[in-house]
């Protein structure tokens, strides 16, 4: 019974967390004012360029609501089953693909994201891979992982890069599950703040250990402590 309750609690907790993440990821809708003959400004340009790309409007995208724009709007309205009045109101904006500004009542302040646990995950791998390395070598290992996240050749998330099969020995043999040292945490933070002593490196290895021949064909950037760094 206890176990079941525990599971229910975990599910609830993750649900709350997920909804938090969902909420903050929602962007703010842009304002969609009502437009008519004589209106001007960037929202008119928006309507014009949209109508132009869909073939209703042939004039210039100049941000001025004139005769050409009005007839294009009417054409668009009749094609889409809207009241043909030549005024860009709520329904026409929506048909153009812009949602009207939502009332803030629907917005709940997000509380789902408080800390970034990525640092700890990164620090554990740094500790597993480079515990005996000098400080600069630790920052460089962390930077390699971040460079991989940004590279199109590797997974797009930090967890994806770190847990990619065979990518890091300390993950394969479980050493990276140990608590990281303070220095490893500092190194991980420095790398996340933009310090990269490996200057864009995607690979590192210990030349004292047997490694695949392929890896030596990579252009080497530098050596730090016991590790070789390469692109």
């Amino acid at each position: 019974m206890r176990g079941k309750r525990c599971i229910v609690f975990v599910i609830l907790a993750s649900f709350i967390l997920l909804s938090g993440i969902f909420l903050y990821s929602q962007s703010l809708p842009a304002q969609t004012p009502t437009l008519y003959w004589g209106s001007s400004g960037p929202s008119v340009s928006k309507v014009q360029s949209k109508l132009k790309s869909w073939g209703y409007y042939t004039g210039a995208v100049d941000g001025v609501f004139g005769a050409g724009t009005a007839s294009a709007v009417k054409k668009f309205q009749s094609k889409n089953g809207l009241p043909v009045d030549g005024v860009v109101g709520k329904s026409t904006w929506a048909a153009l693909g812009y949602n009207p500004a939502q009332p803030a009542a629907a917005y709940t302040p997000s509380r789902g994201v408080t800390a970034r646990d990525d640092v700890m995950l990164l620090a554990r791998v740094v500790h597993g891979e480079a515990a005996a390395e000098p400080y600069l070598g630790k920052v460089a290992v962390a930077a390699v992982i971040l460079n991989r996240v940004n590279s199109e050749k590797f997974p797009n998330s930090m967890a994806g890069v770190i847990y990619q099969p065979h990518a890091f020995e300390s993950i394969t043999n479980g050493i990276a599950n140990n608590a990281p040292s303070q220095e490893s945490v500092k190194a991980a933070q420095d790398a996340m703040n933009g310090w990269d002593p490996a200057q864009g490196a995607l690979f590192f290895w210990n030349p004292a250990k047997p490694v695949s021949k392929w890896i030596w064909s990579r252009p080497i950037i530098t050596e730090i402590g016991g590790h070789v760094f390469a692109r």
Binding site: Q31, G41, E152, G160, Q199
Partner: protein, 450 residues
């Protein structure tokens, strides 16, 4: 005293039985684990195949379809499938990074489709040659799908192994090739396809971009040592000596100079100086930092003086990250009152003594160049109209931000509050379009934008 051996014999049988039972349990567990892992790999493989097949179909639909709305949805689908395909590909265990070309193809295709979807969403005309590229991508996706199907067929007929993981009992499987090795073969053939040329974040012109701020003449190792020493010593009482020099052949070829205080074996300070022009790329002081006694506000002043003392001008502090008794102050270049976000530098201040223990200038050297800033065509008031009216705007300024394709745009930056959440909205100062919305999240190490 008859049959004295019965008891030891019974005990012996019990022990043998227990060992056999235990051994059976271990073997069963082991087999279960192997099956479990192989099932995971199979799942990834089948999902990858599904993703690639969908991609191929969607790419051909994207070529044929005539409606912008339809295309927008198709391209969003391609992006989603490509992203999922890459995640599945990278979770199949393959030794060594031998699938990088396949992975790059998936990222670039997804990203390219996304850039087209965005263009349609914004009503920007898509050129015919941009659609032509879809043909090339379609051919390559077709090749990949067909090869994956071949592997699947061989594997289900038992000619290929599902995984490199096998239990020791299965001696018969030894001489068969595992599926991952066949994937490596595909990757080799994909190297021959032309790479995609376009302007997204993964385009080759961005991956191979040149540092824009790397001006000046080549310097010698001795000059670099001298520059590094002066950079560390400026405004500080301690004198330093160079102990070691190395070279770094990264994006910006550099000399790495190791320094120690003249009368002390610690702390070690490392400075990277670019070979061309002698720009300082990075400085790291490896000393440990004690408890904080200095406020982050004071740290901002110290960091500002640090830059001024090294004749680095027109830098404006924009925000501070506080962690582990240090404050990292981020500076942006300012030109005619406009903040240039790509040209950034970071200064790390130890909050125990107020000493500067870190400097990062690579971003500045990569991006800084003389710019002709356009005049805003949209007034401040018109730009504000494009912002959600519920956002209580607290501050605003003109800034230059980089887009994904590294193109720079002049924007109005509005920072505001919505029910306790802070947002930053960027409105293009030339077209009036909303370029980006960022949310500021307070973490225990300072605010982060997402």
């Amino acid at each position: 005293m008859r049959r004295w051996w019965i008891i030891p014999a019974l005990a012996g049988i019990l022990v043998v039985g227990a060992v056999a039972y235990w051994g059976y349990g271990v073997t069963r567990d082991n087999r279960q684990l192997v099956t479990y892992l192989n099932n995971r790999n199979q799942r990834s493989f089948y999902e990858l195949m599904g993703n690639v097949e969908h991609m191929e179909v969607m790419l051909s639909k994207g070529i044929v379809s005539g409606s912008p709305t339809q295309r927008m949805m198709i391209f969003s689908d391609i992006w989603r499938e490509a992203y999922a395909a890459q995640e599945n590909l990278t979770s199949i265990p393959i030794a060594g990074p031998s699938l990088t070309r396949t992975s790059a193809f998936l990222s670039q295709t997804g990203d390219y489709a996304w850039s087209l979807a965005k263009k349609y969403a914004r009503g920007i005309a898509v050129k015919p040659e941009e659609l032509d590229k879809l043909n090339e991508l379609h051919t390559e996706a077709g090749y990949l799908a067909a090869e994956l199907q071949k592997i699947e067929k061989n594997a289900s007929d038992g000619r290929l192994l599902w995984s490199e993981i096998k239990s020791r009992g299965d001696k018969t499987l030894k001489d068969r090739t595992p599926v991952p090795d066949s994937l490596t073969e595909i990757n080799r053939n994909m190297e021959e396809f032309p790479t995609l040329i376009y302007d997204g974040p993964f385009s080759d012109h961005i991956l191979q971009r040149k540092p824009l701020g790397l001006t000046g003449k080549q310097i010698t190792r001795a000059q670099a040592s001298d520059l590094a020493r002066r950079f560390v010593e400026a405004g500080v009482n301690t004198k330093y000596r160079v102990t070691d020099t190395e070279t770094v052949n990264g994006l910006i070829p550099a000399f790495r100079i190791h320094l120690l205080p003249v009368n002390n074996p610690a702390p070690r300070v490392i400075v990277d100086v670019s070979k061309k022009g002698g720009h300082i790329l990075m400085m790291v002081n490896t000393r440990s930092v004690g408890n904080d006694r200095i406020s982050p506000e004071k740290a901002v002043t110290i960091a500002g003086k640090f830059l001024a003392g090294r004749r680095i001008m027109n830098m404006k502090p924009t925000y501070t990250i506080e962690q582990q008794n240090t404050a990292v102050v981020i500076f942006e270049y300012e030109q005619d009152g406009v903040l240039i976000y790509p040209d950034l530098m970071k200064v790390k201040v130890a909050l125990d003594t107020g000493e500067v223990v870190g400097f990062e200038g690579t971003g500045f050297v990569m991006n800084h160049h003389p710019r002709n800033l356009p005049k805003p065509k949209v007034s401040r008031k018109e730009a504000l109209e494009a912002v959600n009216p519920e956002l209580k705007v607290m501050s605003e300024k003109l800034a230059v931000i980089p887009l994904e394709n590294l193109e720079e745009v002049l924007v109005y930056e509005f920072r505001g509050d919505l029910k306790g959440d802070t947002f930053i909205v960027y409105i293009n100062a030339v077209t009036g379009e909303e370029e980006q919305v960022l949310k500021v999240i307070d973490t225990n190490s300072g605010p982060v934008t997402m």
